[in-house]
Each structure stands twice: as C-alpha cells, then as structure tokens.
C-alpha cells in the first residue's frame, strides 16, 4: 500500500514549495519557493527532514486531509492557526510542533491569524520528482511541485515514508510567523534605478506607510499608499529582476516582487528589499502595514550573514514536546531578528 495524504479540502492556495530553484532566471524561469523560508525550514526540522525538503505552503487558510498511511509524522510552522484532528476524536494542537498521526486521522488546519503563510511538512517528504532541481511549484508556468498546480480536493499526495520515524514529537520554542505585527519595518537598499525617481519620490518611499493590497500574490506584494513620483522617462528598456525588487509602474503604486516574479521587466526599480526581510513581507496578509527604511549594501550583507546564523540557532533549539522551556533573553533576541520587529541595534552589526 502506498502512503498518501488524501486532500478533502484544498484551502485557499496550497502548493508544494521548497527553497526554490536557482540558475534558470536567464531562460525566464523564476525562483519560486517558499514565501517564508524560515517557517519552511522549521517545519521540515520538526519532522527531522533536511531544511531543503519540499512541504505544503498554505496561504490564508489551510487544507483538510486524511492520513492514508499506517502512521505519519507531520508538522506545521508559520502563521498562527490551529491544527485540528477531527476524527476519530476531536483534538486541537497549536502551530510550531510535530504530531504523529495514524491511518484515518482527518486533519484540518484552521484559518490563519495575524499573518497568512505557513508550511505543513511530513517526515521523509513527498514522493514527487524534482523539476529543474526543485520541488517548488510555479503555477503560472504549470510545472514543479504536485502536477504544476495548487492541490485540489481528491488529490493523493504521495509520501516517501510509509510510517512515522521513531522518536518523540518536537516543538519550536518560537514560531516567527505566529506573531502579530502592527506595522513592520522593511529594510531596503536603494537602486538599481533610484535615479529614475524624483527626490520627493524617494522621500515618499522612505517616509510613508504602505498597506499590502488584496491583489497581492506569489508574484508580488502590491502596496497601496501615496504615489511615488517618477521622473519622466520614455519606454524604459527591460532588464533583469531579482526577488525583493520594488518596481514602480506609471501608477506610482509600488510592487515588491516575490518568489514567482517575472524574470525581466520594463518598470524602474526604485529599491530592493534585503533578503532577511523578504520572509516578513512574504507572510504579510492584505491590510498589513509597513514602512521602508534605507540600509546600505555592506550593512545589508552583514544582516544577511547574521540572519543565516539566527535561523540556524532557531532550528538548533527545537526540542521534544515535553521539554519546552521558557523563552530566554537570547532566544527573544534571535526571534525578533527573524520576525523583523526589532529595529536599531540589529541593523548595524
């Protein structure tokens, strides 16, 4: 018998994602991959997988599924939501831990609170062939992940393992996506085309509050806010795009390009969100507020290196469920860095 998760309700936008594909931008293929790679790494580690394994990325509200395997270990990390085992006995679990489940368990991930992005990992991973070196789904291109699309009711997602591994269930001490953030500070490096904007336009970017629009998707976070003034230009000639680029079309409303971004584009890019703050943006739901602040390249690179270390620390502090300790000061410092809510001292190191 083959082990599968049988999807009975797909959720809003559920796809298989890993850390994305590198090396295909020059043939028009975006990186795709997790909008919140921190939560993906945690979900994977909670079930003992490599951090690079593919998992289900869940946006807005979760799927419902039935376990069709003798036993399996699953874990959810990311936006705060409840994990309900509906059958045989209703039980509710919090985000940020693994669960060992058995054949016939019917499981529902509830509506997400505070943020909008989380990951359901399963021990061993999904038995899906990589496409272009990655399990990430690129829905617009129709390839990668599970049949190149969002999962649907009736899908049987094949599992590599037929049974749960031995050992206790694990939990994280801190689940970055679970935090309610009133207004996030997103750090940007100006350029590459900041010279296409007026002084007033740059000031608008760096001093105004923006709101994530409902038309945002995996291609880009569209932002509502004051119009960013462009200098007059004719037919901007297309150039390359990298995730985090903030492009400003003629409307003056900026779009932060995310995992499924087009690889080339004909709008000037005023600034670029640093990699450490992209997951913060990736998990923001429509209506979330944010402000941009400027950082220079060297400082941005330093944050990147520190951020990698902090993720490794968060991951290393996964513990068996029975041994949860209180959050200590060092832990809090790490977790604030990861969730992008601390300002000041984290930036300049």
């Amino acid at each position: 018998m083959s082990a599968v998760l049988e999807i009975t309700a797909p959720g809003v936008f559920t796809t298989v994602q890993d850390l994305g594909r590198t090396g295909f931008l020059d043939i028009g293929v975006p990186p795709s991959g997790a909008l919140d790679p921190v939560a993906l790494r945690l979900a994977n580690r909670l079930v003992g997988n490599d951090e690079t394994e593919g998992a289900l990325e869940i946006l807005h509200a979760g799927p419902e599924f039935i376990v069709r395997a003798p036993t399996a270990r699953i874990a959810y990390a990311g936006a705060d939501c409840t994990i309900e085992i509906l059958q045989p006995e209703p039980v509710v679990y919090p985000a940020g831990r693994s669960l060992t489940v058995v054949a016939g368990d019917r499981i529902r991930l509830g509506a997400m609170r505070a943020s909008m992005c989380g990951y359901l990992a399963v021990a061993g991973g999904f038995a899906i062939e990589p496409c272009m070196n990655s399990l990430s789904t690129y829905v617009r291109g129709g390839f990668g992940g599970f049949q190149g699309r969002t999962v649907q009711a009736g899908d049987h997602l094949p599992l590599k393992r037929e049974t749960a591994p031995v050992g206790p269930d694990l939990c994280v001490k801190f689940n970055p996506g679970g935090k309610t953030v009133a207004s996030s500070q997103i750090r940007v490096i100006l350029g590459p085309q900041d010279d296409h904007f007026s002084k007033a336009g740059l000031e608008t970017l760096l001093t105004s509050e923006f709101v994530v629009s409902a038309s945002s998707d995996r291609m880009g976070a569209r932002l509502d806010g004051p119009q960013i003034e462009l200098l007059a230009y004719e037919n901007f000639i297309s150039d390359g795009i990298t995730a985090g680029a903030i492009q400003v079309p003629g409307s003056g409303q900026p779009i932060v390009l995310l995992a499924d971004h087009q690889t080339t584009g004909g709008y000037p890019k005023i600034a670029t969100v640093i990699s450490a703050d992209l997951p913060v943006l990736g998990r923001m739901r429509p209506g979330s507020r944010l402000r941009f602040s400027e950082i220079d390249v060297e400082a941005g690179e330093a944050v990147h290196r520190q951020y990698k270390t902090e993720i490794a620390k968060l991951v290393s502090r996964i513990t068996p469920v029975t041994e949860v300790a209180d959050i200590d000061i060092d832990e809090l410092y790490s977790s604030n860095l990861i969730s992008g809510v601390i300002d000041g001292e984290g930036e300049q190191e």
């Binding site: 293929v29 390839f143 230009y233 000639i237 990298t242 060297e298």
Partner: protein
C-alpha cells in the same frame, strides 16, 4: 531630461555598477536596444560564467545590462563586482560560440491571425510582410516575460508597429509575433499583445528537458516558411519525439 546613455563597453568607458539588494547587482551598459551593446553584455556574461567566481549564483543578460546574483554568505558586492569589473577591463577578444537555429514557420492564414492587419498597417502585401520577416537572421537579446520567451531583433524597420491595442488573453503556443523593433515566439499559451503573423510546430520549452529552454540569449534564428501540410507533419513528429530541431554551432 536626457536619459539615454550609449556606454560602449571599453576600458575607458566602463559599465555602470548598480546595487540591487544584498544578493545582486547590475552591470549596466546602456539604456537603448543595440546589437553591439548586446554583444558586449553577452561577452561579459560568458567571461563571468567561465571564471567560476566564488559565491556567484547566476547571471542574466538583458538588453541593457548583466544581472549578477550572488550569495552574500560566500562573497560580497565589493569583492564580486570588483572581479566582474576586472574581467570586463581585461576584455579578451575570444568570440562567443554561437548557435544558429532554422525555425520552421507556417505563415498561412489559419496560423497568422494578424498577418492581414499587419499588411494593411504597413502598406505591404501579406507576401511582402513574410518575405521581409524571413529575410533577416535574428539575434536573441534576452529571454524573459515567460519561460523560454525569446526577444528577437532586429525586425526590418518596415514591419515596426506598436503593440495591439487589444491584447489577447490566450496566444497559442508557437505563435510567431512582432511588435516595435522585435520579433518573438510564444513558447506556451499565454496572454500577449503582439501581432501574430505565423506559427511554428517546434517546442521551445519543456521543464522535463535537461536544458528546459531550446534557445539561449545570444543564439541566432532564421525563420523558414513551411506550408500547412508540413506544419501538421512536424507537429505530429514533435509529439512522437521523431523530430528534434538541431542548431548549427560555430565554436568559439
């Protein structure tokens, strides 16, 4: 305000180095579409790739610049951009190896929904449009928009038209299209606003291929007219795997 720059790649006139976040930068050569500039960008692209610089993730040549992505955990903007700039200064005159593709195209009315309109708008007959279109060898400036979509230039001036005012929601895969100074081929069904003047039966992109895109930036393309019967024949052969287009390769 004058924004056009024609910065020819040379030691005296280096490309502009533009920061692009904490994991990328641009080497910008110009903000015009120009064949010579494209060659300079593709030349630097080849040099950078051959140099196997530590921390380099990938490069993307486009009309105006070379995008360089890197891992800030393994190198830095300062180090890598210095290395790339040095490669540019060193020049090196080794030519790029190049590939020429003979792409079969059916220009018959069933496959060319906009050919009559293009003829009207340009004051030419449909046959003259086709003759002009197949009369030049195209250069792939870059691949973008959707997976495997080549931007081909330069289109004969007599065929230059603005994009359609009513873009299509579904352009058929394989459509040969023109707009402004460019030609293109739609690899997959996608929305599009260019004028469709023919269709090719060949497949341009398959995520299952070792190299998922048939074409690479810098390749050359000749369009070769075929009739509807040959189009159907080739479509069958492509489906069964009995036809695979091969390029003529000129080694560097």
């Amino acid at each position: 305000m004058e924004r056009k720059r024609d910065l020819t790649a040379s030691a005296e006139n280096p490309p502009r180095l533009l920061p692009y976040g904490d994991g990328a930068f641009l080497m910008e050569f110009a903000d015009i579409i120009d064949r010579r500039i494209s060659e300079d960008i593709l030349h630097l692209n080849q040099q950078v790739r051959l140099a196997r610089l530590p921390g380099l993730l990938e490069t993307v040549p486009t009309f105006r610049s070379l995008l360089v992505r890197y891992d800030a955990g393994k190198t830095s903007f300062r180090t890598l951009s210095g290395q790339v700039m040095a490669l540019h200064k060193a020049g090196g005159s080794e030519p790029r190896s190049s590939r020429l593709w003979q792409v079969p195209v059916c220009y018959e009315p069933d496959f060319a929904p906009d050919l009559a309109d293009v003829a009207d708008a340009t004051g030419l007959s449909p046959d003259e449009v086709v003759k002009l279109h197949v009369g030049v060898t195209y250069h792939i400036y870059m691949i973008g928009f959707v997976a495997g979509f080549p931007y081909l230039g330069d289109l004969p001036e007599a065929l230059s038209l603005p994009r359609r005012t009513d873009p299509r929601l579904r352009v058929p895969a394989g459509s040969i299209a023109i707009a402004l100074t460019m030609a293109a081929i739609y690899p997959l069904v996608s929305p599009g606003g260019w004028h469709l003047i023919g269709r090719t039966p060949i497949k341009l992109f398959d995520p299952g291929w070792q190299q998922p895109a048939l074409f690479a930036p810098g390749d050359s393309i000749d369009f070769v007219p075929i009739d509807a019967a040959r189009f159907e024949e080739l479509t069958q052969a492509v489906e069964t795997g009995d036809y695979q287009i091969e390029p003529q390769v000129t080694e560097a």
